[in-house]
Amino acid sequence: MSLGDFLKGLFKDNKLVFSPKINLSINIGSGNNKGNTIIYDKRKQLARIDVSQLSNGKKARLQKLLKPQLDTDTPLLDSEYKAKAEDYKEKIRQPDNQVLLNFFANILPQEDLNILRAALYIRTIFKEHHGDVTQLKSQLINQHGIRAANITNLCSAGYFESWIKPLYEEMNKKPGFKKENFLEIYEEIVRYSPFAFFVNRVMSDSEVVQHIMTKIERMKRYGIKTLNIHGIGHSNVAKVKNALEAIEKKIKFTKSILEEDNIIVTKLHFE
């Protein structure tokens, strides 16, 4: 007996008409059908079976018929899990997400790409529904550690589009560019992102100084003594340099600067 024949029997017992030609989905529950063995939702083309209404013989028969379904590439999925998986598919296929993932597909390490997928999904949920994403973030961090938290925060703040992608594009223009050069800076960004400040075009020189000073004060309170300042593009590189001059007059710190064409990464160490 096939699963189709079994269903046909259940439909017949319940005086329902079953057409084997239709594309049918099955949902199995217990106590879900208000006392009916099977209910057919025509719109969803979904047959709902209530196993608590089946005789022991029919239960055993259904269980026996489920196993071979895996071989036909039909996974048996928790209904909430399936809904979540479909939601993920729909959200990750959005053009913005696909553009970014395709861009980084052959650039980022595989683990980071997986984290980025999850981070983009989390960001999309938050953007569209302002939903609570705490649990999803915790699950991601449980699996991938603090790196996942950093990538998720960078992604939520739009830094993959506004900073990391342009950084790669800028570095890629340089003759003799190697992906490893980019990954070195990328690693610095990901690892130290909680201790970093990204200068952007809309900030004035004085705003840059003010933001950096506020960040340094906050970090000092937590005993953190390092801050990375990133700038990309001529004007932002100049802003970083001007800010350093201004901050040097206010507090004591040592610095190391990595500067390449239009990119600057400054590591400040303060007491």
Partner: protein
């Protein structure tokens, strides 16, 4: 033509029984015969509350967390 098979949490144990699995006192999936823990693809124990389903590949038991779910979807694509 069968499109998909899903189950509600209320029928999770029924599904597990079909594959000779059950749950231990703490609610973790185990082999009915040996009592060994059923492992996810990442080698983790699976609690009934986070049991996401079973996929092909000599029976892959799915956890319902975001990482396992994305891995499942991406491998299916």
């Amino acid at each position: 033509m069968l499109q998909s098979i899903t189950f509600d949490k209320s029928a999770a144990r029924f599904i597990l029984e079909a594959f000779e699995k059950t749950v231990d006192k703490e609610g973790y999936l185990i082999e009915k015969e040996t009592g060994d823990h059923v492992l996810s693809k990442n080698g983790e124990h699976i609690h009934i509350s986070e049991f996401g389903g079973i996929a092909k590949g000599s029976e892959i038991y799915l956890k319902s967390d975001i990482v396992s779910m994305i891995d499942f979807v991406e491998k299916q694509a």
